[in-house]
Symmetry: C2
Subunit: 691 residues, 2 copies
């Protein structure tokens, strides 16, 4: 495979892809024909000449990974998946952008066979690709042996101007250069067009020079529209450079072949019928037929698929031999590929009693990590330059670094992400998408917001990413309101399929890790304190795993206080005072709303029961607490800079003040009279349940 | 000012700044001494030799702007403000990082005299500086005349490795290069240290080359610790380059002078007492005194302040002469500096009746912009490459571009931000901080999340930034769940001092703009539909300006439905059905929670009154609605790709289904019995009010 050999079906196949893209978008009357038509040649060359995958088993572990970072061009990807024989029929292509189809408006991982990662939100796919490449480098270094190159796939990513303008991609690109990811090949569709028109209006930087500055190998192809040989040679050259990632700048004409080619008129709207017909006539396809694929094109792609099936079969043989020679490594690799956690790993989780010393939950998190990292080698992650504050690097970890840096090796599991929160999160999505890895990432809770674009995609794509989000409230103290989250819990609690944990002590921290590690299709954010928290009477891992539970029970209560994290012990202090004054107060800890919500109604109602008012206490915005409580005490505005105890005092988050608030609540509901009904008792349940 | 002239007090002043930084952090027992000690020389040279500002009037309009993007180094900035004679006493320095002090842990605009923008969250300040420089370029082009260079200040920004790793800074840097911002000078503290240790672990790119790729002029100084002349010459050279922004890479030693200099040990923790004493002894300061400033240092900075006062006096004279020669421009400039809107501008706001055609609220927004842009020249903004979708560029606008591009001029008010949401938002904060400008920015609502880090700083810093956030729900249809916001409203509604508007029709859209333009210290996000919305009977600008109001009144109601934006007309359709079936249903529109919350309690209770259940309906997460309603109908999970009406049907957001849900609610509360009390009736009000 060293010299480009033209095939008779090349031209007609590329024309077919272009025509199909136009047809797919026209039938949907919605979508983006321009980029698919422009990138059809490079897609054809890549998939027919280079790409190693078995369409009949889209989960073959050593497959090349393909990411379409400019996900709006997904008509192209769906067409290729169809031609290659993935589980995507011509009928599916006709259902493009229709309700419940396999061909939604942007590619969704886990939804459509052969889609590796969810793309569309610009920049994400590129950063995911960096994660995929890190995963390959790490697992290859960990499991490959002489003569057994089990994990050596390439990661290919297509991206457009939009991806390159996004900061998330810039962060990932800089890190990829530092990490010398030689198996990563990015192909930049340099078509000079974005939605606002010519890129001259906003994007005039020298992209190749920028990537060279990051440490990338760069190439360019001047005619991406028809010069297949140059495209081929560029990809080949990119493969030969194994110590740096490669960016190929491919000059293309958006909507190539359309009457409007090269303009933003073909970017995001269907081509007119006469334009499509004229194109088909020009390239020798039947002008009166839509969704037409010549036999030679199907044959060409069938051959590619057969090649892929053979590659997988060879690989399976290699894996079997590996198993005979390296039984332990084989067992471990196949375990990790299967996604099964090692037996009894959970026995490593620390358990606490109230006699144990008070500790910050970030420290409790470090204790968990120190205990589980040795038994869970699939934990791969790091911090956005806050290692010493997030406490994420345990003593047994070594850094994931190129050997040439002298700072670690690709076998290392600790990634130094730099101050790149958004890139880190999107890279973590890629790490998870690769398989065999459970990624964890860390920063201050407040700066998880920088990564919000990637966090929602973790949840949508079911990537099990674990956030170690420390310094989770005004309790961080002196750094002040710029660093003190207010809105953050509400934000993340409103994201579907995301567990936001705010553990109150050691057992709850262990529970949060247990849930985060066992919920294989759900990302978790562990919101952790900077300040010390006592270990609580009544907390256990099992109880906390229900998401919410009665920490301190009292029969015939006058008041229930529900709280999370660092405020639970303050609530308890208030309860002691109230109980001593004859106001019977019980305490509920609610560390994870989403998991609590999934419990049986009867259980939930036993925790947040009717009969007495429920007061919520949390050092954050109260938004959302009304779902679980009659009254909510929290922050009405921004925090403040100062020693943390003074900050808590300033905002009334002390035992005595919460006791006063509790009295006010009890008095109010007594005066109001009537039955106090649990806020959980509702007329209907959106998720389909009925009460 | 062409050749560096050493001054006798240079060395002692720099030593004093370093010692003060150590003292300030040591007394607080919290903070970052390293960067202030490292950057003391460049700060001293910049402020004594170049900086044009009058400490006695920190609001002088043509002052040079200084931004400390590495805001954790704020001990340096506070010390300089004190030495220069801003309203910051030695006592204030001693209160560093204490509750309610003028010297919080990170600099906060509006809180401390002389602080231009809030920094600390990394990368933000750098992007703010790009906004400050755009503002200068625009206002200079708009108001300067031959012989009247009224607006020609420089913007200086200090930044560290952390800022350079952040995507928000990368986005802003690329745009700044494109825009050829010649008066922007960035000084990069290249100290090879970040929190994780040596930058070799994660940040090995060639920063100068990257900035050259963006179109910047780059310089470097090899010895930023002691070589004042080279520092001086670099800044001078940067000033001479007027067609490009300049990055000066300044090699410094973090914590210079400390025993731990050059290590991350001096980054984020106080120096030990003996280290500080040894340093003071070494540089000739009294080792036994803290917070000591030699007379010659105060004298030096007093001379700088006197120079600044003189500069302002000269400028005031120039402005007066300008007023005599260019009366209209003078009136307009001084109006804009004062922040006053032109008389009667609000008469341009469109008003609608139900007879007017249904339109998308993004289109209604365009109609407002088309009407007000001609009367509000201070509106400066644009879109993150979604101009044709956000509908933000009105016919009378021209692009803000360098003349050399042939695409516009600096007089233009429409900024092509490119696909750079986070950079755009942080730049908008800088535009507002400059003064004389009301910035607006645009993208899909879902992608405002990419900018979350800057949005919360708009709110914290009281920057009046207006977001045109279109495609605000599953109503965007085919683009699918990757683009359909779920959590976004909850996120932004939980941010203090931020108005999240979701207008239901034309009058509410006009109201949203009225509020966004008149609330001068509050950012607003206008959440706007892609799909058409009818103009509603009962909506008026005045009513909507209360944030919530009764759109459709019925006495003795069985049910109130409260809704926002595109779902209000669906609620009305349900109400028509319910009323026809004898279930008396009233409708409340609640377009802006934060403004509604600020109304008198009696008014709020009249809108969301007791007596019948209240059902909330919104095509987003229901999180937070429990504050205003007994029951909430919305999305329990992700959206879907498809034509929007089918998507709405899929999720039950139709008149008939909402009517069914309404019946369920009415039945439930009838069966439950007892009084139905408004959810607004609470035991206490966090903001201090009592009910
Ligand atoms: Ca493009
Ligand atoms: Ca640094």
């Amino acid at each position: 495979m060293s010299k480009f050999a033209p095939q008779s079906a090349d031209d007609i196949s590329i024309a077919t892809i272009r025509a199909l893209a136009a047809d797919v978008v026209a039938k949907a009357n919605s979508g983006h024909p321009g980029a698919p038509m422009g990138m059809a040649p490079v897609a054809h060359v890549l998939f027919t000449r280079f790409f190693k995958a078995n369409p009949k088993n889209s989960k073959w572990f050593n497959r090349d990974r393909f990411v379409l970072s400019n996900g709006h061009a997904c008509a192209l990807q769906y067409i290729l998946l169809h031609l290659l024989g993935y589980k995507l029929s011509m009928e599916d292509l006709k259902q493009f952008r229709q309700i419940d189809s396999l061909t939604p408006g942007h590619p969704e991982a886990g939804h459509t066979d052969g889609i590796e990662v969810t793309t569309g939100p610009l920049g994400q796919g590129f950063a995911n690709a960096v994660g995929l490449a890190i995963a390959q480098a790490h697992l290859g270094a960990t499991f490959n042996k002489d003569g057994f190159e089990l994990i050596n796939n390439h990661t290919y990513v297509f991206l457009g101007d939009g991806c390159l303008m996004e900061g998330v991609a810039a962060e990932a690109a800089s890190l990829a250069g530092h990490l010398q990811l030689g198996n990563l090949i990015a192909i930049y569709d340099d078509n000079h067009i974005s939605i606002d028109g010519d890129t001259a209006v906003a994007f005039t930087e020298d992209v190749e020079k920028r990537f060279q500055a990051y440490g990338w190998h760069t190439l360019h192809v001047d005619n991406g529209d028809t010069d297949l040989e140059s495209i081929y040679n560029a990809i080949l050259e990119a493969q030969k450079e194994t110590s740096k990632p490669t960016l190929i700048r491919l000059r293309t004409t958006i909507g190539y072949g359309s009457k409007q080619q090269g303009t933003h008129g073909v970017h995001g709207a269907p081509l007119k019928a006469d334009d499509i017909q004229a194109f088909k006539t020009k390239v020798g396809l039947p002008a009166d037929q839509s969704f037409y694929v010549p036999k030679e094109t199907y044959d060409t792609y069938a051959a590619v698929a057969a090649r892929g099936a053979k590659l997988e079969a060879q690989w399976n043989d290699l894996l079997a031999s590996y198993g005979q020679k390296y039984a332990a490594e084989y067992a471990e690799l196949t375990r990790r590929i299967s996604g099964k956690l090692p037996d009894n790993w959970e026995k490593a989780l620390p358990v606490y009693t109230p006699a144990d010393a008070a500790q910050a939950s970030r420290k409790l998190s470090e204790i968990v990590l120190s205990a589980i990292v040795p038994v869970l080698p699939e934990l791969v992650g790091g911090s956005a330059d806050l290692t010493g504050s997030n406490l994420t690097r345990t003593k047994t970890m070594i850094d994931f670094q190129p050997e040439s840096t002298g700072l670690g090796s690709y076998k290392g599991t600790y990634i130094r992400f730099g101050v790149r929160e958004h890139g880190m999160a999107a890279i973590a999505n890629g790490l998870h998408a690769y398989g065999g890895i459970i990624p964890f990432v860390a920063t201050f809770l407040n700066f998880v917001s920088y990564a919000a674009g990637a966090v929602r995609l973790s949840a949508l794509s079911k990537h099990q990413v674990i956030w170690v989000a420390t310094h989770d409230s005004i309790g961080l103290g002196e750094d002040g309101p710029t660093h003190q989250p207010i809105e953050t819990a509400a934000h993340f609690r409103a994201i579907p399929n995301l567990d936001f944990w705010r553990p109150a002590d050691g057992n709850e921290t262990s529970a949060a890790y247990y849930a985060a590690l066992t919920r294989r299709q759900t990302p978790s954010i562990l919101s952790l304190s900077r300040q010390n928290l006592p270990n609580l009477e009544g907390s256990t891992i099992e109880r906390a795993l229900k998401g919410g539970y009665v920490l301190h029970e009292v029969e015939g209560e006058d008041l229930t206080i529900v709280s999370t994290g660092s405020e639970v012990s303050i609530a308890l202090e208030a309860a002691v005072k109230l109980n001593s004054e004859g106001i019977k107060t019980r305490i509920v800890s609610l560390p994870c709303w989403s998991i609590f919500d999934s419990q049986p109604f009867e259980y939930k109602l036993s925790v947040l029961r009717s009969g007495a008012p429920i007061l919520a206490v949390e050092a954050l915005s109260t938004l959302g607490w009304q779902k679980y409580s009659h009254e909510a005490f929290g922050l009405a505005g921004w925090g403040a800079s100062g020693p943390y105890k003074k900050v808590y005092e300033k905002f009334g988050l002390t035992g005595p003040n919460i006791a006063d608030v509790g009295k006010k609540v009890v008095d109010f509901y007594r005066k109001k009279g009537g039955e106090v009904v649990s806020p959980l008792v509702k007329a209907f349940d959106l998720t389909g349940g009925q009460h």
